[in-house]
Amino acid sequence: MTKVHALPLAGEPPAELLRPLFRVYRAALGLLAFFFLLPDFLFVRPNAGLDPSWAIAINLAFERGMRFGEDFIFTFGPLGILSTRLNIGVSPLAMMVWDLFLMGSIAVVLYLTLRETRTYLSVFLVFLAAFLFRVVPPHTIALINTLFVIFLFLLIYHLWRGALWALALAVLYSWLIFFTKANMGLPALTLMVVYLAYLVILPRPYGRRPALLAGAGFVILGVVLAVVLNVDMAGFIAGSWHLADAYNDAMALPFALSSAPQEMLPLSLAIIAAFLLLALVNWRTILKNLDFALAYLMIAGYLFLVFKHAYVRAFGHPWYFFQSAPAAIGLLALYARLVTSQDSAETSKVAESTDGGDTNRRGPVEAGNRRLPKSYQTVSEKIAQSSLARWSAGVFLLALLCAFPAGVQLYSTEALDVKVEHLRNYGRMAVSGPPYYEGNPNVQTQALPQSTLDLIGNGSVDVMPWEISTIYFNGLAYDPRPVIQSYTAYDGWLDQRNADKYLSDSAPEFILFSMGDIDGRHPFFTEPRTRRTLLSHYQIVQRTPGFLLLQRREQPLVVTETPGATGTARLGEFIDLEPTDALQFITADIEYSLRGKVERFLYQPKLLWVTLEFEDGETRTYRAVKTMVNDQALVDPFVETLDDAQVYLESLGRDGRRVKRVRFETDLPRAFQPEFTYHITQVVVQEMDAR
């Protein structure tokens, strides 16, 4: 009878006779993984729609040299062009150089990881973890996850080996991530700073100098990149912070409403629970090995970020978690095995003292330049270390087990054929240039009437609420408000940036205005300040079935604000509005309860609703965004359609369907504080002479 251990990462190496076969097998699977991770496209075809529009906007901003953080505020930074992969402002050569760099990084990660594998199973598991990256395209919409996992690998590799090139590359990657997508970049920068501080506080055998040099390089590189990429760092960080923070409130979408398979959430939670259990069971060992503790926290932080990314807005996003969580956990499992084998080898080294031990085991001996606490020398500590490695391996296995269903459709011969076809296309595009400009159907579908084009001429244009592709496909001069799409102006700070732009001298000459919002939100709650400036600074010059063309006024109108009613209300309770011809904005100080805050932080907040009651008694309920109503929201008059908007703009807000009272409510009252204060602001817009 045999005692069986499923300890794949700490298994025995193959027999001597089979080692060449093992190497071939390892190389084959490594190459296969690399093949699957090759980019599918050199460039992606520009498209119409909400998401394709912001992708186009990033490239247009880059092409036109806009200053990110000032002229352009979005979660993506200037290097977002690497993620959108549009051939707007980016040459094929530049994109190929980037691909070469990224694939080189991936090759290094794969090689160094596979080099540490000792069993057929562990090679296969590494292959699966790499293969799962294809669950979401790793070179486009999930590029940021790809970069972050490489970044984590570099840090962990440096932690283990002390390789300075890994540290230097990690510094570079932290900035690459930051300038690609700031909401992941801010944690990356934080992590880099913490790691460098850790190296300074607990110096490696080679001293503090490398860490200090890396720190200096980190700062210099950041400054240089900010200058080269034309980034206003303060604005970029502040804007990104607002976008990332308020994203929770504005973009949350319950998992039950998503089309994702319902088992995805339980499977994700199982992975997280196992990861937490690993720390709970081995907390003593982890505390004694600070390097491992740091590695664990780094991976934990990443899992938290990617879990939030996946489930705050569950619509189409859960796949992100399964794409990279196994690989991240796999890094920890690899590190745990390396630490364990290293420690046991050093323990044996101490025991054998003079006879040299096994010099064939390359890893531990080469890694012998690291000082170990003496406490590791005891047998019980060795057992604990072994337990840590087993647990880490177990969690990695569980992560693969739970994540593999998300990628199983890719594990087919058809997927292989598709990949080969993609690579052929890549080659063709690299040789003959991107083919997507001629014959792009969006050029036709997004074409503006000639009369509109004549009116606009060479004037600068912005678009509301989001269809930036129209500007691109009609070759207009794009001059956006900083927060480029209305639904992303999640809070007052972001809205104010847009309003400031329209009030400034650099405001666009024209605005293509249409109606629309997402997730069943109130149709006119977003960008209240910005839309108020439309009344005072713009006028309608053309109406088409699909949009209003607004042109900047020669002489702005005068806006007068008057404080209205104030009071306290409860969720579910109507607030009466004063009958008036003025615009009425409400500012409601609705806050989460403690439970609501915890839910919001760890998962997603509960939704808030607003019900409007009109003068004829009809009621309508829409989704309200907490951060927006905390600032101000236009509740009266009610603007829903393009006709309503036309009336609103032409009558300067005086005409339109009037709202009698308004009520805020939620599906789960315990998630919010029951009572809130509010105040109404009445706004009148009028001609200068009328005043």
């Binding site: 069986v4 499923a6 794949p8 598991l125 319902q262 087990l401 199983v408």
Partner: protein, 761 residues
């Protein structure tokens, strides 16, 4: 013993209980008896509960005991409970053997994960067979290693149980037991040869004794299992649907097989040398056999079956990892088990739901309530109602014997008809014709399945000719079925002409006489690669493309074996309408096929050139006298051969086909008669009618010729009554002299949906 060790033991056996509960067979421990079983299972249940039915006519993979697991109608609760107890005892014993060997947390977690995959396949009989198969692997290896009497008894009993539960799996199980017993007899290290000899003899006796006890015709059952060719001989190409529907899982399954093969190769040295390791080889061999058979069971017909492979594969290798005595091999197979577990998990991952435990508890409660004879919520009635036949149809069938194609079998049960199976109608394999025998069923309910392998038309040309010869269509119930009635005087179906030749794949063959009934036999040989593919279950497919004289095309997916046996080339039957035309007018009214060719997406699997023979059949110049015949005043005779209808927006569109005597028909058609159709309400009053003159160039009248035969096709438009949806109407079809009101009808139809024949009087 320390407290910690006690705690560990308690946890281990608590896990044992949990896994045992998870693996209790379905549906016995999963809730109330399933009322609406799959049609195929109905066939078995019906056959086994009808005392007067010869088991040899029930050709199916499931055996007579499967009705215990499926809670077939009229199966006693006591017997079902006994069956459940036997199954449960086997599962518990197998698990006990595994848990006794599991001495690490990893091993225990591995068992739990393996059990999750095994129990995750939610169905009934097939997964149950796989579970029992796995249990048998455990007990067989245990016997092979330790010569345990209880394990031997369990293995012997299980092998026969499996055989009578699902013959295809059962045959493999019997073979596995035989191998182990022989191994025990010949292996030098065996201690109890005499005992083993006795057991071997006893085991051989158990089967027949069980058959006697259960009233099973053993030779017939064995013959059926062998005829299926499912797992015991070449893969049944008739089952094969190609890999397209299962391609997402095929690569996974192949990876699992590759991992197993690789691990076995890696363990070669470790397992070599000591005689004691022969037992390990035996275990590896049994597991390999199980994997290969499961793969073929799953991928010969990937449509809905691949789950069975994943259910079996990871668990089987997990069992192997636990039972191997060689440490290195055990570790490596443990690793292989982990990889297979990951690869198998997508098959069952959808079961990971928040309410998983609640659902488990609910099914246990439901089973307990059923076992204690408490009243059960009747889950069956509402769903069975959909299968109830219409009263008029029931009147006609009455007590007559009925067979039905697979998807219509629930109607046989729901309507309590006298079921008499005829293998050729239902069988998925291409079996010899039996329905023409004198004791064939009086009625056949014929439906067409989307899958050509399920219905008798695209393949099985012999069965089709048999239907044409012996049956006539008397009802056409929408898209659901044709009701066929056996003819008293069968039609003569004779070979008229034969055409042979050699052709290449993709090249068209022109028919020497287009149209009519044509049968194609083609010796399309497999290449070596094709043979290998077929041997591992992936039967290469060819498309038979037929082209009509107007350029229209149809294609049907076939296998080389089907082509070799012979398939019907013309007429092409694509739906019940074309099937009705074929059976009513011997194919003369179907669109004439002019040419055909064979093409394949797997050219590597076939030799490019093939021999073919095309046989043309004639069904005689006279239609059976069972068809309604009208003799006009001038002696001219017209026989109604088919009525097709369609419901337009506000009208019933009828196509009424009459065969006329070509010799007596004058050149200029003028029969001085009207073809009429009318709708009658429940009181027999006419609510809508239409008539058409039977003369040359009359609007809506067409003359059709096929060889020496002539037909008239009359197109009639009947306005639909306003409340037609809520009230049933009779549709009458007949002929009447011009200028006179319609009198006696020769056909009567109830709208919407079917056509009823009334003999003319």
């Amino acid at each position: 013993m320390t407290a910690r060790l006690w705690l560990a033991r308690v946890a281990k056996w608590a896990l044992f209980v949990l896994v045992a509960v998870m693996l209790m067979p379905q549906p016995g421990f999963r809730g109330a008896p399933a009322a609406l079983l799959s049609p195929a299972q109905y066939a078995v249940d019906l056959a086994s509960q009808s005392g007067n039915v010869d088991p040899s006519s029930t050709v199916f993979a499931l055996g007579p005991l499967s009705r215990m697991a499926t809670r077939a109608p009229q199966t006693g609760r006591g017997w079902m409970l006994v069956f459940d107890l036997l199954v449960a005892a086997a599962v518990v014993y197998g698990l006990f053997l595994l848990f006794r060997r599991a001495n690490s947390v990893e091993a225990l977690l591995g068992i739990l994960a393996g059990a999750l995959v095994v129990e995750g396949v939610r169905s009934y009989v097939f997964p149950l067979a796989v579970i029992l198969w796995l249990v048998m692997l455990v007990v067989l290896v245990d016997y092979g290693q330790r010569e345990t009497l209880l394990s031997l008894l369990a293995a012997a009993g299980l092998s026969w149980l499996l055989f009578y539960l699902q013959s295809s799996v059962g045959l493999a199980a019997l073979a596995m037991v035989a191998v182990v017993l022989v191994f025990r007899l010949v292996w030098p290290g065996a201690r109890q040869r005499r005992f083993t000899t006795v057991v071997l003899a006893a085991w051989l006796l158990i089967g027949p004794l069980l058959a006697l006890a259960l009233g099973i015709d053993l030779p017939a059952h064995i013959a059926n299992a062998l005829r299926l060719r499912s797992l015991v001989a070449a893969p049944a190409p008739a089952y094969a649907t190609g890999v397209a529907s299962g391609s997402a899982f095929l690569l996974l399954a192949l990876t699992i097989l590759l991992i197993f093969a690789g691990t076995l190769a890696a363990c070669w040295r470790a397992l070599r040398g000591q005689p004691e390791q022969a037992v390990d080889w035996l275990a590896c061999g049994l597991t390999a056999a199980l994997l290969l058979l499961a793969f073929r069971e799953a991928f010969v017909r990937p449509w809905g079956h691949p789950w069975l492979f994943f259910q079996a594969a990871a668990a089987a290798v997990g069992v192997l990892a636990l039972v191997l005595t060689t440490r290195v091999a055990a570790r490596r197979f443990g690793g292989a088990f982990v990889a297979m577990l990951i690869l198998s998990f997508p098959v069952v991952s959808a079961n990971v739901q928040v309410d998983y435990l609640n659902a488990r508890v609910a099914t246990l409660r439901s089973y307990a309530a059923w076992a204690l004879n408490k009243p059960q919520p009747d889950v069956s009635d509402a769903r069975l109602e959909a299968y109830l036949l219409r009263p008029r149809l029931l009147e006609i069938v009455d007590k007559g014997t009925v067979d039905a194609t697979a998807e219509l079998l629930p109607s046989v049960v729901a309507s309590d008809l006298a079921f008499q199976p005829s293998a050729s109608v239902r069988s998925l394999a291409d079996l010899p014709l039996e329905i023409g025998s004198s004791d064939g069923p009086r009625f056949i309910m014929l439906g067409l399945d989307d899958d050509p392998a399920h219905d008798p038309f695209p393949a099985g040309s012999a069965a089709r000719l048999g239907l044409l010869r012996d049956y006539r269509v008397i009802w056409h119930l929408g898209d659901a079925l044709l009701l066929l009635e056996r003819l008293q005087r069968p039609l003569a179906v004779t070979l008229a002409e034969s055409q042979s030749g050699v052709e290449r794949l993709g090249h068209a063959v022109l028919l020497s006489t287009p149209g009519g009934i044509q049968r194609l036999q083609a010796d399309l040989d497999l290449s070596l690669a094709g043979r290998i593919a077929q041997a591992v279950a992936l039967a290469p497919q060819v498309e038979l493309v037929t082209q009509y004289d107007d350029g229209g095309r149809e294609s049907a997916r076939l296998t080389a074996d089907q082509l070799r046996t012979g398939v019907q080339l013309a007429p092409v039957v694509t739906d019940l309408g074309t099937a009705e035309l074929f059976l009513s007018a011997s194919g003369h009214l179907n669109r004439p096929v002019e040419q055909f060719w064979l093409e394949t997406a797997q050219p590597w699997a076939f030799r490019s050139q093939f021999d073919y023979t095309i046989e043309s059949f004639a069904s005689g110049n006279t239609i059976s006298e069972d068809w309604p015949l009208v003799t006009l005043n001038d002696g001219q005779q017209l026989r109604l051969v088919a009525v097709q209808y369609d419901l337009d927006q506000d009208a019933v569109v009828l196509n009424v086909f009459w065969e006329v005597n070509a010799e007596t028909l004058a050149p200029g058609l003028a029969l001085d008669h009207l073809a009429f159709a009318r709708l009658l309400d429940a009181r027999g009053d006419s609510v809508a009618s239409a008539a058409l003159e039977l003369r040359d160039r009359a609007p809506g009248l067409r003359t059709l010729a096929s060889g020496s035969r002539r037909f008239l096709a009359a197109r009639l438009l009947l306005p639909q009554p306003p409340n037609g949806e809520t009230q049933g109407y009779d549709l009458e079809v007949g002929l009447t002299p011009a200028g006179q009101p319609p009198e006696s009808a020769v056909w009567r139809t109830v709208l919407p949906g079917f056509v009823q024949t009334l003999p003319s009087e």
